[in-house]
Subunit: 145 residues, 2 copies
């Protein structure tokens, strides 16, 4: 875990709260909102503060172990960042389901564009918004009524 390196470098401390929050966050490979993560942690550590969850999440972002993503809702979500690996998202605006996908070819083309503009890419986000198969069907039947 290069979190410890980061903490030491910055003169920060590894507390019980941070340890537990981070472990939970990195293991469940999901897109937590601060609230969701807070609720999950409360069970394991009654007494944790909301602010601590926020602070820890932001710490992870600063350490390069997570990113903020948005998905059109107006809350921030946090996603664990496993170095090198990257995936994009399909967000169903019907049911909220999020499907991840990888597409190396798209990634390659992105790099190509960046190069063309002399742009030094550090991260990127690609989201497709639409309807999943299920919700698509629901919509069609609704229109008929």
């Amino acid at each position: 875990m290069d979190l410890k390196d980061y903490l030491k470098k910055k003169g920060l401390k590894l507390t019980k709260q941070r340890e537990k929050i981070i472990t939970h966050f990195l293991n469940k490979d999901k897109h937590f909102s601060a609230e969701e993560l807070y609720n999950a942690m409360k069970k394991r550590m009654p007494g944790v503060g909301y602010a601590t969850v926020y602070r820890t999440l932001n710490l992870l972002v600063r350490a390069g172990l997570a990113t903020k993503i948005s998905f059109g809702e107006n809350i921030t979500r946090f996603e664990p960042l496993h170095r090198n690996e990257h995936h994009d998202h399909m967000v169903c605006i019907g049911c909220g389901k999020i499907v991840e996908f990888k597409h190396p070819k798209i990634e390659r083309l992105q790099k190509e564009v960046a190069r063309r503009y002399n742009f030094y890419t550090q991260s990127h986000a690609l989201e497709l918004y639409g309807y999943c198969k299920k919700c698509r069907k629901k919509n069609i039947s609704k229109e008929k009524k």
Copy 2:
């Protein structure tokens, strides 16, 4: 302008405020935050309310003439949507500059992925975050010090 069609269909009215706000928004082809647009409108129409700007912007989204985008800051931006045409963004995390680019090949590959997942795409967002040429240089010289 198919805004009028939309309004009629929905039984909504075209007010002076809406007209001016929308004209301004659609003409300046930028990424307005509600605040920026509000400030711009205040000059032309002293007395406009903040809320009206928000409402109009959301109306445009509902009408399919604009989309919300995020760019990592935690405010919502709005972007005019010219049918069919689409572009993506490169956001400089140094100076905030936003460069638009088009890449039909990437668009095509996105459609392909969606089809593979039985996903019916309605819109999408692709953002590259990094440093523009200028900021890149600045960072390098900073590191040396």
